[in-house]
Amino acid sequence: MLLELDNVKTYYGNIRALKGISIEVDKDEIVCLIGGNGAGKSTTLMTISGVLTPVEGDVLYKGQSIVSVRPDNIVRMGVCQVPEGRMIFPLLTVMENLDLGAYLRKDKDGINEDIDRVFGIFPVLRERRKQHGGTLSGGEQQMLAIARALMSRPNLLLLDEPSLGLAPILVDSIFETIRQINEQGTTILLVEQNAQLALQFSRRGYVIETGEIALSDTSAELLNNEEVKKAYLGE
């Protein structure tokens, strides 16, 4: 198992955001986490990336507990988060954004190689490379956020709502790219409100409701599940 969450409880003060979440992500999988607003999806990712610390439970990465590891060291270990809402650096150029993604790396040749690689995945970023992040369109900012995360060469990529606020045509191409990134050897844990899409593109899925895992199954099964259909697929 690449990543294991064991009965993780995370609180914001007195508010219990996660009431005991257990999740497993295997190497080379795409796993999705679906659920409504405030169910605890982003909190789960923030807990994995170390920005939040759980009150109880354990997060194991490659069998090693990372709950007390500093967030920057978790990135060093190969877990990289793309935060919700396309958090790029608006006052820095596209190139500077990508350089920061590779902040922990010292291998200049490898970094240049990876810049070429992400420009291959997102050709529009090459055209915009001297523009400031804040002047990009919503879709381009999302691409930049993902590209920046890839620059750290993560083993595990945590994606928080990559479809948020994007035009439908862009959403499909972003998900196509996510699949492509996965095929190149990056494991992906995906948080999405767009359950239909997330389940189509992932192998397994977890349904999270008010801080607890309500259901977990292969994505194909979840797509056919009557409850999921009613609650999340609008059928």
Binding site: P83, I88, P90, Y103
Partner: protein, 349 residues
């Protein structure tokens, strides 16, 4: 496009060399009296201070209201070391730099976990503490009596059988201040283009995204705070040896506020902008000091004038006189959009 940019660059270079040349010959211009030179030194001193402070709000996006605390620590470090041990200014400068940095770390390490306004309040409290300490620890600082008779700066070559020059009058201090400003600007440019600067800008733009890039927020913020404090202390140690008298009320909160105003007015984060801010506010302050009594107003009214300037700036030039390029581009984009509406109406006619 490429050609134009090259021309711009050389023009920028010409302006820089021109300004430096002007600064170097300034004391020999006919209208320059000792008083003018005194103000010029004050401008240079505040350039160092505002460049130092700029690291925290300008490069890291953190509000620091207690900068004057480090200025005061530097001044008293210099004053006391001179007073008691007669140390040379050239030895004191690095010591003040280190002492400032130590206090920056001592204050920053526990408090930089706080965010936004909470951090600003702590820094404010710190500067008040420094003033209280300087006032009340009479055994150390002589308290409100002040610290008079601090030696002037000198270049002492008697050790090698050479002469000893004492800095008398404003002229040598003026050139010393120019050298210190040049060094500060050089260091700031180097930091701005370094990995360290890049990490700071990431923190300024977005903390969560910065963490996701593997940047250790606390460590980089503490480094920023320490370097900023160190430059404040260097400014203070120059001040002590220049005016040769210190008293605690020179380091009241108003000074922090004034330096912050210079940064905001000049353009937060922009090295040139910050220096322009220092020129504008220091000279304005001195002009008002002359004009206000003539109008029958107390000198303190100049703070009212500063407030007015800040309000006008927020209305007409919210990013400052010379904002950083990215912000300037954003402002331009906003202006272009507004202008676009007009020709559309014109075409209809």
């Amino acid at each position: 496009m490429g050609k134009l940019r090259l021309q711009d660059l050389t023009r920028g270079g010409k302006i820089r060399i021109g300004l430096l040349a002007l600064a170097l010959i300034l004391p020999f211009l006919p209208f320059v009296t000792d008083y003018v030179l005194h103000i010029a030194i004050l401008v240079l001193l505040y350039m160092i201070l505002s460049l130092g402070l700029n690291i925290v709000p300008g490069f890291n996006g953190l509000l620091d209201l207690g900068y004057v605390g480090f200025y005061g620590i530097g001044a008293y470090t210099s004053g006391l070391l001179t007073y008691h041990f007669g140390l040379s200014f050239w030895v004191i400068i690095p010591l003040a730099f280190i002492n400032g940095a130590i206090w920056g770390i001592l204050l920053g390490a526990p408090t930089l976990r706080l965010t936004g306004d909470y951090f600003a309040i702590v820094t404010f409290g710190f500067s008040e503490l420094v003033v209280l300490l300087l006032t009340n620890e009479i055994w150390l600082t002589r308290g409100p009596l002040g610290l008079p008779g601090i030696d002037v700066v000198s270049i002492d070559l008697t050790l090698f059988g050479g002469p000893k020059w004492e800095f008398i009058g404003e002229l040598p201090y003026y050139y010393l201040a120019i050298v210190m400003v040049l060094v500060t600007v050089f260091v700031m440019y180097r930091i701005q283009d370094s990995r360290l600067g890049r990490a700071w800008f990431a923190i300024r733009d977005d903390e969560v995204a910065a963490v996701s890039c593997g940047i250790n927020l606390l460590a980089y913020k503490v480094i920023a705070f320490a370097i900023s404090a160190a430059f404040g202390a260097v400014g203070g140690s120059f001040f002590a040896r220049w005016v040769t008298f210190l008293s605690p009320d020179m380091f009241k909160f108003w000074e922090s506020f004034l330096i912050l105003c210079m940064i905001v007015l000049g353009g937060m984060g922009n090295i040139w902008g910050v220096m322009i801010g220092a020129v504008v506010l220091v000279s304005l302050s001195e002009v008002l000091r002359e004009i206000l009594p003539v109008l029958g107003l107390p000198v303190q009214v100049r703070f009212l004038a500063f407030g007015l300037i800040m309000v006008l700036m927020m209305r007409f030039r919210p990013a400052g006189i010379m904002p950083i390029p990215a912000v300037a581009a954003k402002m331009r984009a906003g202006r272009v959009k507004r202008k676009k509406v007009k020709p559309a109406v014109g075409i209809k006619k």
